[in-house]
Subunit: 257 residues, 2 copies
């Protein structure tokens, strides 16, 4: 069913805009916005472990893809769509997405990426994309990370957010998982085992530190394994998304070899 | 020698600002701006193959690092510094840098990254950082790439721009290098040789395609080698900087093993 809304002052339109601009609005409603056909199509075609597509909003001149009748759809004039949208040259489609109430439980085996106070939305989105691409089983957010429903995060995932398993994890919960046999593996600039020579457990939690401060002391102390990406002396460190992606692909391809 | 300038309307200040905001000003002068202590210190401590530090500009409250007397230095009040600067919470130091007249010649052996119409400044800066970190010998810019002296590119390199060898390369020049024995190696989403199983020549030119269109047809046709990073079906492709970095580190670490 398609409803039409033509006024930018309509409360529904204001609410949609707030889901893009306000973290508080996202947290209170449990909803967020996905912009663009790639992300919407992924949610239409696949069952997402975490997310549910609730509503579509299209600009009246949207013609690029067939939409199912079963989803509540709002059509708006293009100037109203631009008022909601966060994207330059928007494609004219966005979706309201909610988190499912029954989040999947943390598995007892697998390879997980733990992000330690990661703050940059582009880095988180890119790491979600690389985690899905490499075959990592999920992402753990530790400390004060950027929220995964931030619109810049969602955009940087290029549609792969729909497949992601993401959990917030406390220090206590993490330490419980370590007691159950997960191996905590931190990346360090100097003195760790060479990434390309290391062997990894099938219960691995790979830690990538924050952009500004690296891996926090409490995690570094608890690490069963420290690994280093070999770097030329002219380069002190790598970008967090690059380091995490190189490690994830090396770990999963080593396991397959 | 330190000179003082106190007015934002001084032509020197306007010229500095234009080197940040205007590609045309950078191209006409052959100069660009490096902001922040990390980049400046790298240029002070090391001989750069491409770049020469010409002048420093400091905010009057700059106290964080000793500066050599030999470099022409301008001190300005902090409100004038903010007028020039492109950075939020600027550190109060920037440098005017010129390209050296005698750019190094393209070597006859080595591993090079060729960027095919790469447009995103963050991607180029990150790839420069990863190229330096992995031990790649240089970067070739092909087609309409973002300029390496763009302030966002320089910032994303985290100081490593000072060590980089970057050349613009035409189709004709590239094809000449291929005739001299360089192997053109393109990355492709499907059907190439598995990156983790491939062997690479010590005369390799690795191609990363543009964010929007991938590798251009003319390069794809001339490729001696096509490689694929193995991806799970849920993920169509990787970010260009991630794909390039994974390949460069795999290639250089395979060569060392």
């Amino acid at each position: 069913m398609i409803r039409e809304i033509t006024s930018t002052t309509n409360p529904t339109i204001k609410n949609l805009r707030s889901l893009i601009t306000s973290k508080k609005a996202r947290q209170e409603s449990g909803q967020f916005i996905v912009e663009g056909w790639r992300g919407i199509k992924t949610l239409l075609d696949h069952e997402s472990p975490l997310y549910q597509l609730e509503q579509l909003v299209i600009s009246k001149d949207w013609k690029n893809g067939a939409l199912p009748d079963s989803i509540d759809t709002i059509a708006v004039p293009s100037h109203v769509f631009e008022k909601i949208s966060d994207v330059r040259n928007a494609q004219g489609i966005l979706g309201v997405v909610s988190k499912k109430k029954d989040a999947p439980e943390f598995p007892t085996i697998g390879k997980f990426l733990l992000l330690d106070n990661l703050r940059d939305p582009g880095n988180l989105g890119t790491l979600i994309r690389s985690a899905i691409g490499s075959g990592f089983d999920g992402i753990l957010l530790y400390g004060d990370c950027v929220e995964p429903e931030n619109p810049k995060v969602i955009r940087s995932t290029m549609g792969t957010f729909a497949f992601s398993n993401i959990w917030n994890i406390s220090k206590e919960a993490l330490f419980q998982w370590l007691e159950k046999g997960f191996e905590l593996c931190v990346t360090t600039g100097l003195g760790g085992e060479n990434l390309y020579e290391a062997e990894f457990s099938d219960k691995t939690i790979l830690v990538i530190g924050s952009e500004a401060h690296g891996v926090s002391d409490e995690l570094f102390k608890r690490a069963a394994k420290k690994i280093t990406i070999p770097l030329q002396p002219e380069c002190e460190s790598l970008n967090a998304a690059i380091a995490g992606s190189i490690c994830m692909f090396q770990i999963t391809n080593k396991a397959r070899a």
